[in-house]
C-alpha cells in the first residue's frame, strides 16, 4: 500500500466516519423518535378513546339506571301489556344507536319487555353486558332486571379506522375481535378498560409510510455519502498530490541516485514548509555528497598517481642508487636533479684535471694474490674516492689502478678555487696514503705501493659521449692528455702540477719549479712544479663567537693601534670578572 493510498484512506475514513456516524445516529434517532412519538401519540389517543369508551359505557349504564328508575317500570307488574317499556327500550336503542338489545326480565326469568319484540315472553338466558335491577317503588324489593345485550362493536364503532390506524379489541387475552387486515409493520398500543379489565382495546399504527419515507431518506443518505466520499477523495487526492509530490520526487531522486550513482540530480523545492526544507536539505546533502565524491575521486586519482610515481621514483631511486656507484656523485646529482639532460651534449670548460696511479702496479699484480690485490685496490680506491668527494671532485673514471678526476663541472667554485681544491685534495690524498701504508703494513702487506699525482688546468670538452644507447660523462681534450702525461712524469708521492695550475694556486701552496719536460704528443716543453706544502693561513685574524649571553666579533685588520689597546684592557677586565 503506497503512502498516498494510506493517506487518502486515512483522510477518507477520518472525514467520512463522523458523517456516517452522524447519519446512522440521526437515522436511528429519527426512527426511535418517530417510534416513541407515534407510540406516545397512539397511547394518548388510546387513553382518550378508552376514556370515551368508559364514558360511553357509563352513559349507557346511567341510562339503564335511569330507565330502571322510571315510573314506567311499574308496568313490570302488569307484564308490560301496554308495551310501554318495550317501546321505551326500542326508542332508547334507536337513540343510542347501539348494536344489541335491551331486555327486561321478571322475577321468573321471563323476558317481559325488550327492544327486540321477537324475544318477548321468551325465557332465554342472555349474556349481558349490563344489567340493572329494577326495584319496586313500594318496598324496594327487586321486581325485575333490565339487561343490555351489547356488542363490543359499539365501542369500536366510536372510532372509525383510518387508513393507517386500526382499532380492535382483544377479549380474554387471545380472542381478537373486529380486527381488520394487519399491517406489515405496525406500532401497537393496548389498554384494558378500567371497568372491564378483560376487554383490551388495541390501537395499531401502520409504519409502512414512515418506513418508506425512511427508506427514501436512506437512499438519499447513501447517495450523499457516495457523492461526499467521491468529493472528499478527489479533494484529498488533489491536496495529497500537492503535499506529497515533493516527497515522491524526493524518493524517486533518491532511488535514481542509488541506482545510477549520479549526484547531479536536484529536487524541486515547492514550498517553504517542513517538506520544502527537507527538499532543500536533501539538495544540499546531494551537492555535498557530489563535492565529497569528486574530491574523493580526485584524491583517489592523486593517490594512485602518487603511488605510481612513488613506485616509479622508488624504482628510479633504487636504480639511481645502483647507478650512483658507477657515476660520479656530482654527475649523478646533476643528472638526477635534472640540471643536465642525459643527451649527447657537450661544452667547453676550463677544468682542473687530476690523475693518479700506483707506481709499479703491474709488478705488484704479479707478486700478490688476486684476492689480496683486489682488496688492497678497493681499499685504496675507496679511501681516495672519499677524499675526492670531500673536496667536491668529479670522479671521471677508474682506469685499473689509476684515478681520473676533475674539478669545475658540473659544480664549479671558480677556476682558481677549483684548482686550489684539487691541490688540497692531492695533499690530503698523499697524507692519507702514508696512513694507509701503516695500515697495510699492519695487515701484512709487505710491499705497500706509492702513488704519483699529476694536475693540470685547461680547457676541455665536458659532456656525455658515446652512442645513443650508452653514454659516458667524461672530458676530452689535450688538457686531459697533458694531465695524464704530467702524472706519468711524477715521482712516487709527488704532486706534479702544470704551470697553469701553479699560477692559480701559488697563493696557497709553496711550489718548487721542476724541470721543463718534453711530453709525448706535445711539441713544446712543459713547465712543471712540485707542490711542497700548503702556505699557512694567518691564523685568528678574524673571530666571530656567538654564545648565549656572549657575543664577540673582531677583525684584526680593521683595528687601529688605539683600538687594540682599549680592547686589551676591556678583555682583561672581562677575564678577571669571569
Amino acid at each position: 500500500m503506497s503512502f498516498k493510498l494510506k493517506i487518502v484512506s486515512l483522510i477518507l475514513s477520518v472525514s467520512l466516519m463522523p458523517y456516517i456516524i452522524l447519519m446512522v445516529y440521526a437515522g436511528n434517532t429519527l426512527r426511535k423518535k418517530y417510534y416513541e412519538n407515534t407510540q406516545h401519540e397512539l397511547k394518548m389517543q388510546l387513553d382518550l378513546s378508552i376514556e370515551n369508551m368508559e364514558q360511553y359505557i357509563n352513559m349507557i349504564k346511567r341510562d339503564m339506571l335511569f330507565i330502571s328508575n322510571l315510573e314506567i317500570m311499574n308496568d313490570v307488574f302488569s307484564k308490560d301489556v301496554d308495551r310501554r317499556i318495550s317501546i321505551l327500550l326500542e326508542k332508547k336503542k334507536k337513540e343510542l344507536s347501539i348494536e344489541g338489545d335491551f331486555f327486561v326480565y321478571d322475577k321468573n326469568g321471563v323476558i317481559i319487555a325488550s327492544s327486540n319484540p321477537k324475544m318477548i315472553l321468551k325465557k332465554d338466558k342472555i349474556k349481558a353486558f349490563f344489567s340493572q335491577d329494577i326495584y319496586s317503588p313500594f318496598d324496594k324489593s327487586v321486581i325485575a332486571k333490565i339487561v343490555l345485550k351489547f356488542s363490543l362493536k359499539n365501542l369500536i364503532k366510536l372510532y372509525e379506522n383510518t387508513e393507517d390506524r386500526h382499532y380492535y379489541i382483544v377479549v380474554d387475552k387471545t380472542k381478537e375481535l373486529f380486527k381488520e387486515d394487519s399491517f406489515e409493520n405496525e406500532i401497537t398500543v393496548r389498554k384494558a378498560l378500567d371497568t372491564r379489565p378483560k376487554i383490551v382495546v388495541v390501537l395499531e399504527q401502520n409504519q409502512e409510510q414512515f418506513l418508506n419515507l425512511l427508506k427514501k431518506y436512506e437512499l438519499w443518505f447513501i447517495l450523499t455519502l457516495f457523492i461526499g466520499a467521491i468529493i472528499i477523495a478527489s479533494l484529498a487526492l488533489f491536496f495529497i498530490n500537492k503535499l506529497i509530490r515533493p516527497i515522491i520526487e524526493l524518493s524517486k531522486v533518491a532511488e535514481d541516485i542509488t541506482h545510477k550513482q549520479d549526484y547531479s540530480y536536484q529536487v524541486k523545492v515547492y514550498s517553504d514548509d517542513e517538506v520544502g526544507r527537507l527538499s532543500s536539505s536533501f539538495n544540499k546533502m546531494i551537492t555535498g555528497m557530489q563535492m565529497a565524491l569528486i574530491k574523493l575521486q580526485e584524491e583517489a586519482k592523486n593517490r594512485e598517481n602518487l603511488i605510481e610515481e612513488k613506485s616509479k621514483s622508488e624504482m628510479l631511486e633504487k636504480l639511481s642508487t645502483k647507478l650512483s656507484r658507477y657515476l660520479s656523485p656530482q654527475v649523478y646529482q646533476s643528472i638526477f636533479s635534472g640540471e643536465q639532460d642525459v643527451t649527447l651534449t657537450s661544452k667547453r670548460k676550463k677544468l682542473t684535471i687530476f690523475f693518479s696511479d700506483i707506481i709499479g702496479f703491474t709488478d705488484i699484480t704479479d707478486t700478490m694474490e688476486s684476492e689480496d690485490l683486489s682488496n688492497l685496490l678497493n681499499d685504496y680506491l675507496n679511501e681516495m674516492t672519499l677524499i675526492a668527494l670531500k673536496y667536491g671532485a668529479t670522479v671521471d673514471k677508474y682506469i685499473g689502478d689509476s684515478i681520473m678526476l676533475f674539478f669545475g663541472d658540473p659544480y664549479s667554485k671558480g677556476v682558481k678555487d677549483d684548482a686550489i681544491a684539487c691541490v688540497n685534495m692531492a695533499l690530503d690524498m698523499n697524507e692519507r696514503m702514508s696512513f694507509l701504508h701503516k695500515k697495510w703494513k699492519n695487515s701484512g702487506f709487505t710491499k705497500p705501493f706509492d702513488v704519483r699525482i699529476g694536475i693540470h688546468t685547461g680547457y676541455c670538452t665536458v659532456g656525455n659521449f658515446g652512442s645513443k644507447d650508452r653514454l659516458e660523462y667524461t672530458i676530452i681534450g689535450s688538457s686531459v692528455n697533458l694531465a695524464s702525461r704530467i702524472e706519468s712524469s711524477a715521482k712516487p708521492q709527488e704532486i706534479l702540477i702544470s704551470n697553469e695550475t701553479q699560477l692559480l694556486v701559488s697563493d696557497s701552496f709553496e711550489c718548487k719549479k721542476s724541470k721543463e719536460i718534453m711530453l709525448k704528443g706535445f711539441k713544446r716543453p712543459v713547465s712543471l712544479y712540485v707542490v711542497e706544502k700548503k702556505i699557512k693561513e694567518i691564523e685568528k685574524e678574524l673571530l666571530d663567537i656567538k654564545k648565549n649571553g656572549f657575543e664577540l666579533s673582531y677583525n684584526i685588520n680593521e683595528l687601529s693601534l688605539d683600538d687594540k689597546s682599549i680592547l686589551k684592557e676591556e678583555l682583561s677586565s672581562l677575564i678577571k670578572n669571569l
Binding site: 315510573e71 311499574n74 302488569s78 301489556v81 301496554d82 317503588p137 313500594f138
Partner: protein, 135 residues
Amino acid sequence: MIAKTSILIILLSINIFASEYAVVVDKSVQINKLTQKQIRDIFMMKRHFVKDIKIVPVNISSSAKLRDEFEKKVLKINRVKLNRYWIKQHFQGISPPIIQSSDNSMRLFIQNVKGAIGYLPISAVNQELRILYEF
C-alpha cells in the same frame, strides 16, 4: 273525519249508558268496602294504610276517560287544582300514584301488586278482583 267523529260519539254514548266504574282490589286483599272519602285520601296519598294493609294506589293514564270520571266523581277535584296539589306535594317528597295506561294493565297490576288499589270499568272487573266502591 266524519266516520271517526261518529265512532267517537257512538262510543261515548255507550259509555254514558253503560256507565258504571268500580274501585277494585285483588281478592286477596282483606278489604271489603271503602268510603269515597277513604278512596280520595288514598289517591291523594294522604292515607297509606287500611286495616294495617299497605295500600298502593294506581291511576289510569290521564288521557283516559275513566281518569276524568274518577277525578270528577270520586276525588271531586278538577285537573288544574289536582296538578297544583301534586306540585305542592312533590316538594314534600310525595309523588302521585303509579299510572297504568290501560284497563288491562291496571287489572294485571292490581292482581300482581299486593295492596294495589285501582279503578276499572265494571265490565272489565273479573273474578279475581273485589269491588270496593262503585261510581
